[in-house]
C-alpha cells in the first residue's frame, strides 16, 4: 500500500496599502458599489497606470519574511483574457520576472520541522467583482479593481491536508505580523486555490492534477483536499486516471464539482506593460525594509522565552497571533508578572475566546483591566477563584474589575479579627468535625474550611482560613 498526495497552493493576498496599485483611489473593503473608482482603475481608454511604490514595499516585506530572493528590477506584464470584471481585457501582473522567488515557510509536523518551498511571489492588480442576482442579471462592482495583490505560489511540497492547514496558518500569521494583509478569508483578502494529485508509490502511476477553487476557509481547504485525495485514490485503484480540470468546492454538499475542463494550457498572451516603467530595486532599500520589518513570529517567540522567562510552550501559544502577543505584552507592562499574566491569558482568556469563536480584538476589556485583576489577586484583595468570576463578568460586560468587585462586594476578608469570629462560629456549630479531625480524619479539616468559605461566599482569604482553623482547633 502506498499513495502519496502532492499538493501545491496558490494564494492571493490583498495588500493593506492605503491606495490601489496604479491610482490614488482608496483601497478599502466594501463601500457603495463603484465609488472607489477613477479612469485608471476603470481602465478607461487614455488612462495610464502609475505603480504605487508601497505595493513593491509590501511585496518585498513578504519576500523577506518568507526567505525569498528579491528581484533586482521589476517590470509589469499584461495577462490577457476576457471577463466582464476585468476592465482592460488584461490583468496587469508579472510573468517571467516575479518580485520574489525561491523562499520557504517552515511548519512543525509529527516528524519535526518541514520546509514548504515557495516558487514565487509576484504583484498584480485585483479585478472587479461580479454579483449574480436572483433575477439572472450580473452586476459588476469595480471597487476592487486595482486593489493590490500578491500571488504566492508554493512548490508541490505539501503532502497532507494537515500540512496544508499548518502552512496556511503560518502564512497568514506572518502576513498579519508584518502588516502586509489582514488576511480575512471571509472578505476575500486571502484566497487559496489548491493543485492536487496522487501518486501510487508502488507503480509510480499518478493522477492528473485537479485545480480546486472556491475555498472560503481553511476548513474548506482541508475538507476539499481530503475529498479529492479519496477521489484520486479511487481512480488509481480502478486503474483509471482523473481528468485535468478545475473543480469547485461545494460547502453545503461537502464535495467538489467540475467547474471547467482545462484542455490545453491557457494562452494569456503575456506581453510587457510598457506604460509601467521598469523599477530598479535598490539593495539598500531592501535592507531598509528588512530593518523596519515588524518582528516575525519565531523571533517574537524566542524573545518571549528570554525576556519574560516563559516556558517554550507558553511563548508558542502567546505568539500564535500578533494580537495575542500584543495583548500579552501590554498586560504585562502593567502587571509586571510575566508568568501570572501568561497563565491568565493562556487559560481563562483564550479558552473563553475559543469557546465563543472570538478574536482578541473582540475582547470588551483592556489589557490594563486584566493587569488590575491580576494585581488584586496578587495583593490579596480577592482570591484566585473570585478572580475567575470577576473575569467572567469582564468578558460579558467589559466593566472594570474594581467596579465589579465593589459592586458585588467581593473583596477578600483578610482581617484577622473578622475571620477569627467567623471561624469560631463555624467550629462551634461543627463539634463533630473537630472530633473527627482530632481522630485523624483529614477530610474533616477540608470540610471546616469549606464551611468558612461558604459563609463568606468565597471572600475569606483561603490561606489565612487554612491556618486559622488548624490553630484554633488546637487551642480549643
Amino acid at each position: 500500500m502506498g499513495y502519496k498526495t502532492i499538493i501545491g497552493l496558490e494564494i492571493h493576498v490583498e495588500l493593506m496599502t492605503k491606495t490601489k496599485i496604479f491610482c490614488s483611489c482608496i483601497n478599502a473593503f466594501g463601500g457603495d458599489a463603484n465609488t472607489h473608482c477613477c479612469p485608471v482603475c476603470l481602465g478607461l481608454p487614455g488612462s495610464i497606470p502609475k505603480l504605487n511604490k508601497a505595493v513593491l514595499e509590501y511585496g518585498i516585506r513578504a519576500g523577506i519574511a518568507f526567505n525569498c530572493q528579491i528581484a533586482d528590477y521589476v517590470k509589469m506584464d499584461k495577462k490577457h483574457y476576457f471577463y466582464p470584471d476585468l476592465v482592460k481585457g488584461y490583468q496587469t501582473s508579472q510573468d517571467d520576472r516575479p518580485l520574489c522567488r525561491d523562499g520557504y515557510v517552515e511548519i512543525e509536523n509529527e516528524a519535526g520541522s518541514k520546509k514548504i518551498g515557495l516558487q514565487r511571489i509576484h504583484i498584480e492588480e485585483d479585478t472587479g467583482k461580479s454579483i449574480h442576482t436572483e433575477g439572472g442579471d450580473t452586476l459588476i462592482d469595480y471597487n476592487r479593481a486595482g486593489v493590490p495583490l500578491i500571488e504566492i505560489v508554493t512548490k508541490p511540497d505539501i503532502n497532507t491536508s494537515e500540512e496544508a492547514r499548518m502552512f496556511l496558518e503560518n502564512l497568514r500569521n506572518t502576513l498579519k505580523y508584518i502588516e502586509v494583509s489582514d488576511c480575512k478569508m471571509e472578505e476575500g483578502s486571502l484566497r487559496c486555490d489548491v493543485n492536487i494529485n496522487v501518486i501510487d508509490t508502488e507503480t509510480g502511476n499518478k493522477t492528473n492534477i485537479t485545480e480546486l477553487k472556491n475555498l472560503n476557509s481553511f476548513k474548506a481547504v482541508v475538507n476539499a483536499i481530503e475529498y479529492e485525495e479519496k477521489r484520486h485514490i479511487d481512480y488509481l485503484e480502478r486503474g483509471e486516471n482523473t481528468i485535468k480540470e478545475t473543480r469547485r468546492w461545494n460547502e453545503l454538499e461537502n464535495k467538489t464539482l467540475v467547474m471547467r475542463g482545462k484542455g490545453g494550457t491557457e494562452n494569456y498572451r503575456y506581453s510587457v506593460d510598457v506604460d509601467v516603467l521598469p523599477v530598479k530595486i535598490d539593495r539598500d532599500w531592501i535592507e531598509e525594509i528588512k530593518n523596519n520589518l515588524p518582528e516575525l513570529p519565531h523571533h517574537k517567540k524566542e524573545r518571549f522565552i528570554k525576556e519574560y522567562d516563559l516556558p517554550e510552550y507558553d511563548a508558542g501559544v502567546l505568539t500564535q497571533s500578533k494580537e495575542i502577543a500584543q495583548f500579552y505584552e501590554e498586560t504585562n507592562r502593567y502587571a509586571k508578572d510575566p508568568k501570572q499574566v501568561s497563565n491568565w491569558i493562556m487559560g481563562d482568556v483564550l479558552r473563553r475566546l475559543n469557546d465563543e469563536e472570538l478574536e482578541v480584538e473582540d475582547l470588551k476589556f483592556k489589557p490594563k483591566d486584566l493587569a488590575d485583576l491580576i494585581g488584586f489577586i496578587n495583593n490579596g484583595k480577592i482570591s484566585n477563584n473570585i478572580g475567575k468570576k470577576v473575569l467572567r463578568d469582564m468578558f460579558e460586560t467589559g466593566e472594570k474589575p474594581e467596579e465589579i468587585i465593589k459592586k458585588k462586594g467581593l473583596i477578600q476578608i483578610s482581617d484577622e479579627g473578622e475571620l477569627k469570629g467567623i471561624v469560631e462560629k463555624v467550629l462551634h456549630e461543627n463539634q463533630q468535625s473537630i472530633i473527627d479531625y482530632r481522630n485523624g480524619k483529614d477530610r474533616a479539616l477540608g470540610f471546616l474550611i469549606g464551611q468558612v468559605m461558604k459563609s463568606t461566599r468565597g471572600k475569606a482569604n483561603p490561606q489565612m482560613v487554612n491556618e486559622m482553623v488548624k490553630e484554633m482547633i488546637e487551642k480549643r
Binding site: P45, G46, I48, G89, Y90
Partner: protein, 482 residues
Amino acid sequence: MDIVKLTAIEMREKLKNKEISSKEIVNAHFDRIEEIEGDLNSFITLTKEEALRAADRVDNKIKNGENLGILAGIPVGVKDNIITKDIRTTCGSKILENFIPPYEATVIEKIKNADGIILGKTNMDEFAASYSTETSYFGVTKNPIDRDRVPGGSSGGSTAAIKAGEVALALGSDTGGSNRQPASYCGVVGIKPTYGLVSRYGLISLANSLDQIGTFGRNVADAALMLEAIVGQDAKDPTSMDIEKVDYLGRLKEGIEGMKIALPKEYMSMDIDNRVKEQIMKSVKLLEKLGGEVEEVSLPHSEHAWSTYYLIVVSEISSNMARFDGIRYGYRTKDYETLDELYINSRTEGFGEEIKRSIIAGTYILSSKKGKEYYNKALKVRTLIKEDFDKVFEEYDIVLAPTTPNLPFKIGDSVKNPFEMYNSGIFNIPANLAGLCAISLPCGYVDGLPVGLQIMGDRFKELNILKAAYAFEEELSIGGER
C-alpha cells in the same frame, strides 16, 4: 482682413491689440467650416457652443485687463483620439461612436489653461492605425489641396482643417508618422515631439511605447507655439519626463550657422519618387546655403525599421483593443444571448477591417511561440536602430529625410495597393522606434502637390529641429502660404 488666413501668432497679436475679438475669430472660423466642411469632412464632432463660451471668457479677460494664456483666442482642432471631458471621443471608430469620457486629457487641460479655443474633434483613421484617414467610421477626409486625394493620416482631419482655414492650430498623435505624413500631404507643419516630452494621459493608446501627441500649424512658429503650450512632465503619465522648459518661440530665430546635418545614405537609396527626391536634394542645398554642414551618414539597420515597427505595433494594438468589449462603454451589439456572443458580435460589428487585421496579427504574434520569437527579435532590433541614431547624434545635430517617399495618393488607391500606403510611413517610423523628435514642413510643390522635408533631432532636442525648420522656411518664404 480674412481672419482665417492669419497665422495663430498673428491672430493672438490682433486679439491683444483689440483689433478683433475672440468671438469674431471663432465665428469667422465656424463660417469657414460651414462653407467647406460638407466637402472636406475634417471634423467628427464640432463644439461651437463650448467654443463661443470659451471665446466669451477670453473677451472678458481682455476687457478686465487680465493676463492672457499663450493660446489666447486661437482656434484649435483636436484629433479625436484625445480624451475630452463630456465631449464624445470616438477614435474614428464605431465601437466608440457614443463614448463620452468623464475625464480630461492633460493636453486639453493645458490648452484650456492657455486660453486656447477648441472648435471640435478632428477626423482620423480608426484608432490612428493607418495613413490615409480612409479607415474612419465617419468617412474619409479630403485633401484641401486636391479633393480627389487623401489628406494622409492618421491625423488627416487635423491637417486638412488647418490647411483649409477651419482652425489655426491642431493636435494630432504620431505612432509611426501620423503627424508628419499628413502634414506633408496637406502642406502644413507637423511636429512629433520626443517620447516623454508631452503627457500621453488621455491619449487613447494605439501602441503605448511609440505613441506621442504632436502639434500642427500653418508654419513652424505656429506649430512651435502649440508645442510650447502642451509640454511638461505630468504626474499622471509616468513615462513623461522632467525636462527643463525651453523657450522655443524666443529662440526659433537663432539660425543654423555651423549646425551639423546628417543625411542617411540608406534613406536616399530607398524607393523614393524622383520628384520627391529632387525637392529633398534642393532642400539640402538650401540648408547648406544657410550655413549648415551636411554630410552623408549611415543608419545601418534602416532596412529593418518597417518590419520591426510592424511586429511591435500590431502586438500593442491587439492588447490595447482588448478593453473595447461592449461591457462598460462604447458599442454593444443587440444580437447576443451568451457572454461570448456579446464579446464577439460587439467587436465584430464595432471594429473596422484595418483594426481587425492588426488585432489578428498581434494576437498571433503574442500567442504563438514563433510569434513571440519574432516579437522579441523586434525588440532587440529596435535597440539597434536606437543605437544607430545615438551614434549619429554624437556628431550631428539633426538628421534629414523625406517625410514620405511619395506624393499624396488618390482616395481609394490604398485599398488597391495597401503596401504603397504602408510604405508612405517608412521614413517616419525610425523616430518613433528610437523615441526621437521630428518635424515635417513643406519644402516645395510637385504638380501642385506638396512635398514634406523631415528633420529629426535627438531626444529632447526639439530646439534644434525647430531652429533648422524655421530658418529653412524663412529662406523658402513659404511660411503661412496655403
